[in-house]
Structure formats: C-alpha cells, structure tokens
C-alpha cells in the first residue's frame, strides 16, 4: 500500500523529472548487481570489437593496441583475397552444412525422447534412462573426441573390429572426409539429446492431467494422445527453441571441429572459425583473419536478426 501511495505522490508532481543521478541513487543496489554483467560485456564483447579495424589494414606486429590506429590502411584487400581464394566457397559451405545437419538431425531427437520417456509406465526405468542420457552432456569435448578416435580406430577400435568380424573392411572414419559430418552430427546429438530433452519433458509434465483423462474417456489410443494432445501442447516450446537455435545456426563449435579434423578431412571439416584460427594465430595474417572473421560475424548477425523477426511473427515474442 505504501508503495502505491508513493507512486501516486510521484506522479502528482508532473514536469519534475528525476535526474540521472537521482535515478542511479534510487536503483543503486540493482545497478550494483548489474555491474558485473555490464563489465563482462564491455570488456569481453564490445572492447574487442575495436579489433575489427584490423580487417581493413596491414597490421603491424608488436604495435599492440595503438597499432590498430597507425597501421597501413588496405581497405577491402583482405575481403577480396578471401573471396578470390579457392577455399572461400568450401568454408562457407562446410560451416553452413555442419550446422544445418546438426539442426536437422539433432533437433527432433530430444522431442521424441522426451515423449517416449514421459509415456513410459515403468517410472523408475524412465528416471534412470533420463539420467544416463543426460550425463554425456557433461563430458568435455576433448574426452568425447578422444573416445571417438579410440572407438573408431581402423586397427584396434571396437567399431572396426565389429565390422571386420562381420566380414567387412575396416573404415578409417576419422581420416575420411565422407565421414566427418556424420561423426560430428551423431556424436553431437548423442552428447546433448538427453540434456536438451529436459525442457520438453518439463513442458509435457505441465499438461493438465484432466486432458489425458478426457481423451481416455473418449477412447483415444496412446498414439492419438501423442499426436492430438502432447504435440499441440508443446508446439510453442518447440517453435521457440527452434527459432533460438536458428539464430545460432552458424555457431559451429570451434573446439570440436579443431579437435576432430586433420588435413585429411579439410575438404568437409574445415570451417570458417578453424580457418581464421590457422590464418590468424598460426600464420600471423592478422588482417586477413580479422576480415574473414568479420564476414562470418556479419552472416551470423543476419541469422540472428532473421530468427528474431521470425519469432515475433510466429510466436509473438522476441528478444527485441
């Protein structure tokens, strides 16, 4: 009540706007809580953006921060070099396809799994299954790739030994470009489907039980319940998550690709971020690497904008 009356008092004084100082002092505790986040974004996200200018200049080594402003300006030279390079198209294609396949194959699995787990009568089994499937999410990428290398080794990997036992020829999975995307996508969904299903499980659990009862009274089978009740009820969650994933479509994990690839599979495995790493860090072509990275970010920006727009159109909710 007191709050309300205060508000009334404030609004009763029109024309006297609070100064910035007053606002800050009123919300100082909230501001203080916000400060770390603010600093994080300034220091790690916004300040480094100044480095973008490197993409337009011939960066002088050893000149540090000031070098950003007094290196030779070369305009769009690095961009031209990238688009003239035989790798440009391949890198864009690889980056896009890797994300696209991850989405196509990785997205439906958690939904199916969530439905299966909630429909299961043996509750204890369902719980155990859920725990087991989400644990891999917490294994670090290095370990996952190490496991893949071992299991898939052509000479003593368990997978190839099975293939040989069944009369096949061993396949060198990790050095065959044809296998790179499949392995990346399969291992990626294996690692994350349990974890990603949690949100769908929660959505399904949130459905009013009386709706199931009503359907059962009407004689609906399990399958009909899934198709006509569960899916429509969680469709909003699905669409929201799908749109959010779309925004991140180009964010293929650098670490995993870097750990998995070798010159043998560059044809399908080399993505923009790994190329930028090789050019920039390994070969100190800082200007060129920045230009390629900037191009990559620009494309990513378009995706985020588009998914936000889509989200607003489809679900009515959006980030801005």
């Amino acid at each position: 009540m007191r709050n309300a009356s205060q508000t009334i008092v404030h609004s009763a004084e029109p024309g006297r706007k609070k100064t910035l100082g007053q606002l800050i002092s009123r919300d100082r505790h909230l501001m203080l809580m916000f400060l770390p986040v603010f600093l994080f974004y300034i220091v790690f996200c916004y300040l480094p953006m100044v480095g973008i200018v490197m993409g337009f200049e011939n960066f002088r080594m050893g000149s540090g921060f000031s070098g950003l402003f007094n290196s030779e300006w070369v305009g769009l030279k690095w961009f031209k070099q990238f688009f003239d390079s035989v790798f440009a198209w391949r890198l864009i294609r690889n980056t896009f396809l890797l994300s696209f396949y991850s989405l196509i194959f990785g997205f439906p699995i958690p939904i199916i799994f969530a439905i299966a787990i909630t429909q299961m009568r043996a509750r204890r089994f369902a719980k155990v299954a859920q725990v087991i499937t989400y644990l891999p999410y917490f294994i670090s990428t290095v370990v996952v790739v190490g496991m893949m290398t071992n299991f898939l080794s052509p000479s003593n990997g368990i997978v190839n030994q099975l293939i040989v036992k069944m009369g096949g020829k061993p396949i060198s999975f990790m050095s065959n470009p044809a296998w790179f995307r499949r392995l990346y996508v399969i291992s990626g969904s294996w690692q994350s489907f349990g974890f990603n299903s949690i949100i769908f499980v929660a959505a399904i659990m949130g459905i009013d039980p009386s709706l199931y009862e009503a359907m059962e009274v009407d004689g609906a089978s399990r399958w009909q319940q899934i198709v006509h009740l569960i899916l429509p009820m969680i469709s909003e969650t699905i669409i929201l998550l799908l749109i959010m994933t779309l925004g991140n479509l180009l964010n293929v994990g650098f670490e995993k690709v870097y750990l998995m690839y070798s010159p043998a599979v560059y044809e399908t495995g080399d993505v923009i971020s790994t190329y930028v790493y090789r050019q920039g860090i390994e070969n100190h072509n800082y200007g060129y690497a920045s230009a390629v990275g900037l191009f990559y970010s620009a494309v990513g920006f378009v995706f985020v904008m588009a998914s936000n727009y889509l989200s607003r159109r489809v679900t009515g909710s959006s980030l801005w």
């Binding site: 960066f59 080594m61 065959n176 010159p263 050019q279 390994e282």
Partner: protein, 516 residues
C-alpha cells in the same frame, strides 16, 4: 680530504676496470660477472622442456649460468608443442614483453624485424665478443641472419645438419631371417614389405600380427620423395641448373610418387591409420617386435627403438639405419638448415645492455660446454687421461637429467656432431657415418624475404600448403582418383598462384647463390 681519497680510489677502480675490459676484449671473452649491480635481473621468454614432466624454471645448469653471469633470470617458459600458437599473439600485441625473446619461428618474412620490436644487435657488437667470434667462424650463418637492411637482429640456436637426421631404419634380425641385405631400391623395398606380410617374422605363431612398415606420415616425403627426384621436405628446391621447383607441383614425378604410395596403401603395406601414427605407437610396436621398417630421426635408433628389444645389449643395433631408397632417381636424405631457432632482444626493454651481454655470454664456449656436459661431479667425471665421461645417472634417470637443463631448448645452444657422438653407442655412431652422412643433401637454404616477397609468400603459401597436404592424403587413400583428378589438382595450384611463388623463390635462391 675524505672526498678526495674516495674519488682517488674510485678513479683507480675505474681505470682498473677499463684495463680489464680491454684485456677481456683481447681474449675475446666477456667479463664475468656481467654486472655488479645487486639483484640484476634479465627476463627471458623461451621454450620449456620437450619432456612434459620436466620444468626448466629452476634448472640447476641454467641457474649456474645465471650465477656466473651475476644475474637472476626471470623466466617465462612455454610448452614447446604450443610455443608458436601461444607466443605469436604475445609478440603481435608487443606489450610487457621480456628482455630476451625466443622467437616462434625464424622470421623469414621479417614480420617481427620490420615491426621494429627488435633491437639491432650489430649496434651492440662491442658488448658481444663471443657472438662476433661465432659469426666470424660461421660466415654462412652470418649470411642467413643478415636482414636486407644490413642489420643482424638475432642470435641463433644451431643444430647438427648432416648427421643424425631422418633415415631409413630396418629391423635387422628380420632382414637376416629373410636372408637379404637392406633394400636400396623401391622394388626391393616393396618385396621386403610383402615378405613380412606373408611370413611370421617374429615367430610368435601368428603370421598376421606383423605390420610391415611404421612411418609417421610426416616422414613419408623424406622416405620416398628422393626416389622420384623430389625434395618434398623442403617443398621448394633447386635443381642442378639452379632452377627452383615446387615438389608437389612436379607434374610427372609427383604423380608417380602419389601413385606409388596409393599402391602401397591399396595393398595394405601402408597402414590405413598412417595419418595419425605417432612415435609412441611405433615404440610400442618395437617393444612387441611387430614392425619391419621405420623412418625417423637417426638419434632415436639406439636409445629409443633398439632399446625396446629385450635382447638388445647395446653393441649391435636391432633397429639400424641403412642407405636411402632409389627409384628412377638416385636416392638421398634431406639434411637440414643449421639454424633451428632465433633469439632477439626486445627493443622496448629498459635493460638492453645487460640483456645483450647475457645473450652473448649464453653463446660463449663456456656456456656451450655447460649445455652439453653439465658440471663435473654432477653429470660427468674426468678420468686420468683427461677425457670426460658422463655419470651413469645421466642415462638411467632421464627426467632428472633433462631437468638439469641439459641442451636446454631455451638457450642459444650449438649442437655438434662430436657432442652428440659421445651420447650414443659406438655402433650407432659408425652407422651414422656409413649410411647417413654420405647421402645427405642440403635442403633449400634459409633466406630472408624482401617486403614484396614476404607479402606474396604470406598471401599464397599457407593456402597452397593446406591444399597440397589434404590432396596428398586424398590421393594416397583413394578418396580422390589420381588418373582423373590429378590434372585438376595441378590446375588448382596454378589458380592459387604457385607460379607467382616460384618466381619469388627463384629470386631468393639467385640472391643466395650469388652471395656464396
């Protein structure tokens, strides 16, 4: 009165020190200690030990060196396997760098030199008697290190070039069992591999567990390139007429090379996992007597590979070196360039004079002796004849020995063949002189690029090497068909401006040849 006496004493002291500097100069020696200042510190950025369990921060031998010089070293040591990736960004930022910098590469494009971050050392040569003497003794190294502005910016770390380099190594008991000599031609070599595949060479009753050849993929070009007349190791090479070629762009020879390797791969003589094979795996194969031939740096032959065999007694090699393979061309081994690393001095350092003096002292014969031999009583003893012998612990306890800072990778050390010989068994030294040294051929020389050349090189070379590497694997494994796709490969290299690069390399080679 007091003051006058004091100034007199000071003057005498100063005169004396001038005299002794002059004397030291005559003897071509730096004066020790380098400074009398209390707590003088030199900071150094360098590589840590190649042994992952050894940390050189407190290495006793390096400490001894610092003590003799009268300084304390403030180390920034970085794992050598990630050295370049970690140090390049540090150098690019140019902030808060130590006084002495071990560079991540030889700076052939002069990226660092041009940036002005390094102190031209020749302007301090009055303080560097040891280095000046070294350069006088090694004019070709001096030539390689002189930048196009005439200054010298780096102190080198040098290695042996024509001995203990990568060579063929055979399983000698297996050769004997088959009753043959070590193959010297490609055909005889393939026959040898087939014989291993067909027989139970290790006599364990299983004829299928033998792996004919165990080669890390990086050594395949060393091993087979020369038989096709290619120096794939250097990439660029000059023929007898002084014309520069790029090995992976040799239409006939490189195609033949790939076809040969693809044949080995198809037949199962080159294992399916050859791209990921590493030295540890090969070592364990030796321990189980599973493999017939390998190719590696020669100095691994005795103490690493042969030592794996239970019946190795140190007098006869079990894995031993042999002559290179010949094909249509006479075989050879690829030697290496003497400069393996370079140290520069941070031009922004506030401590340049002391850093220069210390770097020079680190080049001195005294320091070199310390790198190789260590200290009397600690690592070696002197017998009645005055000859030095390593103490047994040096070979028995590798981690301790490496932890001392022996041949430390963060010092401008100079490897030498005699110093390496004493570390190895007699048969190995003999093997090196007989089968390796005579077949060594010089690699493409180390030459600085002019700014224009550097621009062209950095623009095209990386992409070309990436493309060549990945196509090589594809052709060998059969993911790409040599007959139908090789022409496309050559065309792509042309599109990637290989001809432009060849022109640059030709100009550099001509400069080098003219300077000889």
């Amino acid at each position: 009165m007091k003051n006058r006496i004091l100034s007199l004493v000071l003057a005498v002291v100063m005169l004396m020190s001038v005299g002794s500097i002059a004397l030291a100069d005559e003897l071509n020696l730096a004066q020790l200690p380098l400074t009398t200042e209390e707590g003088a510190t030199v900071s150094i950025l360098g590589m840590n030990s190649w042994y992952s369990t050894v940390d050189l921060t407190d290495a006793p031998l390096l400490k001894e060196l610092a003590d003799r010089a009268g300084v304390t070293i403030d180390w920034t040591l970085i794992d050598p396997t990630v050295y370049s990736d970690s140090v390049s960004p540090m150098l690019a930022s140019g902030k808060d760098l130590p006084d002495i910098l071990e560079m991540p590469d030889l700076d052939l494009n002069m990226d660092y030199i041009k940036s002005g971050m390094l102190e031209p050392l020749d302007t301090h040569f009055d303080l560097m008697p040891n280095y000046v003497a070294f350069l006088e003794k090694n004019p070709s190294i001096k030539g390689s290190l002189t930048a196009d502005d005439g200054h010298i910016y780096y102190v080198p770390q040098t290695v042996v070039t024509h001995s203990y380099q990568p060579v063929m190594m055979y399983n000698m008991p297996w050769l004997e069992k088959l009753g043959i000599e070590a193959p010297t031609t490609l055909d005889a070599f393939v026959e040898y591999l087939r014989a291993i595949k067909a027989n139970d060479m290790n006599g364990n009753g299983d004829p299928d567990d033998e792996i004919p050849m165990s080669i890390q993929s990086a050594f395949l070009p060393y091993m087979f390139g020369p038989a096709f007349g290619l120096d794939l190791v250097s990439g660029f090479y000059a023929d007898d007429e002084g014309v520069v070629h790029y090995a992976a762009y040799e239409k006939e020879a490189y195609k033949a090379y790939l076809t040969f390797l693809h044949g080995l791969y198809e037949e199962g003589l080159l294992e399916t996992e050859f791209t990921s094979l590493n030295r540890d795996q090969i070592t364990s194969r030796c321990a189980n007597d599973l493999t017939g031939v390998t190719f590696d740096f020669s100095w691994q032959m005795s103490n690493l590979y042969s030592a794996q065999y239970p019946n190795y007694d140190g007098t006869v090699g079990i894995i031993a070196g042999a002559a290179p393979l010949s094909g249509e061309h006479e075989g050879f081994y690829v030697a290496r360039n003497p400069i393996s690393g370079v140290f520069g001095i941070n031009a922004k350092s506030t401590n340049i004079e002391l850093a220069v003096k210390f770097l020079d002292y680190a080049m001195s014969e005294e320091a070199q002796d310390l790198y190789v031999w260590g200290l009397e009583g600690l690592t070696y003893e002197v017998d009645d004849t005055g000859a030095r012998h390593y103490l047994p612990r040096c070979t028995e306890d590798t981690i301790w020995y490496q932890g001392l800072g022996i041949n430390a990778p963060n010092m401008p050390s100079q490897q030498s063949t005699p110093a390496t010989d004493v570390l190895l068994p007699e048969w190995h030294v003999k093997n090196d002189r007989e089968f390796e040294v005579p077949f060594m051929r010089d690699p493409y020389p180390t030459v600085y690029s002019t700014p224009d050349e550097a621009a062209i090189t950095s623009m095209y070379l990386v992409d070309i090497q990436t493309y060549v590497d990945e196509r090589a694997v594809a052709f060998i494994c059969g993911y790409a068909d040599i007959e139908t796709e090789f022409d496309g490969y050559i065309a792509t290299l042309e599109a990637m401006q290989i001809e432009e690069l060849l022109k640059v390399r030709q100009a550099q080679y001509d400069r080098f040849a003219a300077a000889l």
